[in-house]
Symmetry: C2
Subunit: 470 residues, 2 copies
């Protein structure tokens, strides 16, 4: 029988927070946590605990948890491992519900005494009724609740949730995903995952109304059955993308020294993820690409893809990428061919899917025009629109032409009933204005809601996976 999903409401929405081990040293985690709550506009009281300081980052400091004037829902611990057992006792006395242990150097060090201490902490916390996130994790990011584990993360919130065993991976996914249009709601970096396991987090997020898409980075799980239950429950309700790391011998060794994770067999993991209905990512890049697709390519599911943009060589490469990722590059239907014939008779029997934009020059037809004709045809389920910026760079008025084409493209993307994956980049140019132009155009496309991928191969991978899921 499945255990019920834990109520993590006060973990993500604490009414008050104490930071034990708060520090006046701006280059320390004990300072970052306090400052983060200020920067994110946390609405309730924040209590830095530091016997030697009067205030930390503008909040009045207290010498100990027992000296704090009000109730505390969440305690964040930045003290050394040796002080944690005592801290749990203090938490019990103050009725603290959630203790997040940023504190590390437990089982992940490979040291037997440190591992034993971790087990004792687990037992003591259970007896005290204190639920633990971590140890060895950065904790909670929930901008809607004013909570963050780093002061410099984006404030805008949205429907993407993430559970991550690794803190730096969570930070990278949030910041890189933000640049690609992802807006994160709830993120939990659970580290060694002692009590609030990834399975319990998934079970909670499955029914969380704020969460539309779930990303997960997992090195290993202590409770395989619990994880699978949480995953099935979440994937039945929303798209879930899981990056399972520690697939190889070397990866598993590294996972053990990072979060003491038992990595397990890669093949078993792939099978379990598939069976649960989750999409598997094999790298952070794939994770981000799939979450961008699941979040921004609404309605993706069919395999028949229209491809426009780029020259002839790019068209051949695009066709390969689409077919190799399970998409069908359906030849141009007669209806579209007849529409081309009306405008550009010489091209009608030559033009194909993918559309080679280099043969359109001077014809009165553009890539965007073809894209509209193809999207209107019932023969296609989705499209990949390649901006092909390199061609523009070689022409006069490059900036004006490129901006014009991208404006029209973003209007098409915004109004299309079918998903359109946009390809722009990679920004590999030694020419400053070209880099800046591509960055600026990409920002505008993302701002208007487009799913933008740096290569056709990555766009095709995502559409292929979304089709396989549907």
């Amino acid at each position: 029988m499945r255990e019920p999903a834990p109520d993590l409401t006060l973990l993500f929405n604490p009414r008050s927070i104490a930071v034990v081990g708060a520090s006046t040293n701006v280059d320390s985690a004990g300072h970052d946590y306090v400052r983060s709550m200020r920067e994110f506009g946390f609405g309730g009281p924040v209590y830095p605990i530091n016997p030697k300081a009067d205030e930390v980052s503008g909040y009045r400091a207290y010498p100990a948890l027992e000296a704090v004037p009000g109730e505390v829902d969440l305690v964040i611990s930045c003290i050394p491992a040796s002080g944690v057992l005592d801290l749990i006792g203090q938490c019990r006395e103050r009725g603290v519900r959630f203790l997040h242990l940023f504190t590390g150097r437990f089982s992940e060090t490979g040291d037997a005494a440190a591992a034993a201490l971790e087990r004792e902490i687990e037992a003591r916390a259970k007896a005290a009724g204190v639920r633990i996130l971590g140890p060895n994790g950065m904790g909670v990011f929930h901008p809607a609740g004013g909570v963050s584990f780093r002061p410099d993360l984006p404030r805008d919130r949205g429907g993407v949730a993430m559970i991550s065993q690794s803190g730096n991976n969570a930070v990278e996914v949030i910041t890189r995903g933000y640049a690609r249009g992802l807006r994160f709601g709830k993120v939990a970096n659970y580290g060694n995952g002692m009590d609030i396991t990834p399975g319990r987090l998934l079970a909670y997020l499955a029914d969380d109304p704020e969460t539309a898409v779930i990303a997960g980075y997992v090195e290993g799980v202590p409770d395989g059955r619990g994880f699978f239950d949480g995953l099935v429950s979440a994937a039945a309700k929303k798209p879930v993308v899981i990056h399972k790391a520690g697939r190889t011998g070397a990866g598993a060794r590294s996972a053990a020294s990072h979060t003491a994770a038992l990595a397990g067999s890669a093949a078993l993991w792939s099978a379990a993820l598939r069976q649960a209905g989750a999409m598997e990512a094999r790298s952070q890049e794939q994770l981000l690409d799939l979450v961008v697709g699941a979040s921004l390519l609404r309605g993706a599911g069919g395999r028949r893809v229209a491809v426009v943009g780029g020259g002839g060589g790019r068209s051949v490469q695009s066709a390969d990428a689409c077919e190799e990722h399970g998409l069908e590059v359906v030849p141009l239907p007669a209806t579209v061919r007849d529409q081309v014939r009306a405008k550009a008779p010489a091209l009608a029997d030559w033009i194909a899917n993918p559309v080679d934009q280099s043969i359109l020059a001077g014809s009165g037809l553009s890539s965007n025009g073809l894209l509209e004709l193809m999207l209107a045809s019932p023969e296609y389920d989705s499209a990949i629109a390649n901006v092909g910026e390199d061609w523009f760079f070689g022409r006069p008025d490059a900036e004006e032409r490129l901006r014009h084409a991208c404006n029209r493209l973003s209007a098409i993307v915004a109004t299309s009933q079918k998903p359109v994956a946009v390809v722009l980049g990679p920004t590999e140019s030694a020419v400053g204005w070209q880099r800046e132009l591509v960055d600026s155009v990409r920002d505008e496309l993302v701002e208007k809601g487009a799913a933008v991928f740096p290569t056709v191969e990555r766009a095709a991978f995502v559409l292929g996976r979304l089709s396989a899921r549907a």
Copy 2:
């Protein structure tokens, strides 16, 4: 018996060039070719042929090829297909050695009459002793000879040669490769490859003293045996990377309408490339990565890799990537562990390969320090050094610290006897200063000769392939 390699000296080093169909319209190829020779400082006479113009891009124009005062080694044709037969007659009369047909709309259109014209051109040129590059290709890029097919390409020359069936692909590889430190010597975009086939180009480049590494983009070849001969001859003498496109049904259809290429079986192609000793790329990204590796990672060959940089999650991911690409993530040798113990006793039994940079904080040891220790150990053949810029972004003095770390890293790379692949990026950040900083730091690393990859996965792919080749 193999045919002898053709002498293409005057194709890449013409003493004089005529551009037939030269144009005063700055938005046309007929203008671009003339302007390109000016911008690239071509040393000999340039003769724009245009009966209606007095001059094109500062060169005196002539009404016809016969009116040109001196000898002509290379004619570039930008006139319509219907005029080419007549042009070949004029070339014969003037003793022209090489005719590059930018002119397209032949067999690639799928039109029977156009294909017949192409065959007639081939026969007529052979009879006239005029060798043809193209049709339907952008032709020759050879900055050392002052020749380019676009005015905006980089001027710096180097030892990378490329043959490409696609023009836009050649432009992308040159400009993107340039930003990553590649310097191109001779590039030929041969389009339909009628006479000067990719096999003949490879045979020529095999013995070209200017060429150290060869990249190829091929959609299909008319003479399988000739291509294989040229490839074997080239790969025996220098690293060759071939991107074979048109691997799928859709890709093959697209190749037919792009360059009338017969794409052939993907499996046969992979086997032939392997047998010939070439490295196969499956995308432009892989082609660029492999050429960067073959050009800049001198001495790559062994499988035993040291990995440093990035936090714990990244370390697990890096280990997976290395092992999945055939590298051995050799555990930290006792000698290195002892050196760590001397400086940071608490880390000595915990630290591992990959090195988790997040546990080094405050220890007096840095990623770069570990990198030096590991490179000095005979247990490692190569290294991957991940800058881990996201960590710096969260700290005070981020720019100063990141620049300091990268300066030290580039000094290590420059003096190391073993190849070090650097990982920086991808520059996916919504924060302007972070983008600019990463771009600027990458430029400096590239400037100092480092092979930089945007992800550990791509660095591991390249080191793995270079090992497999060795």
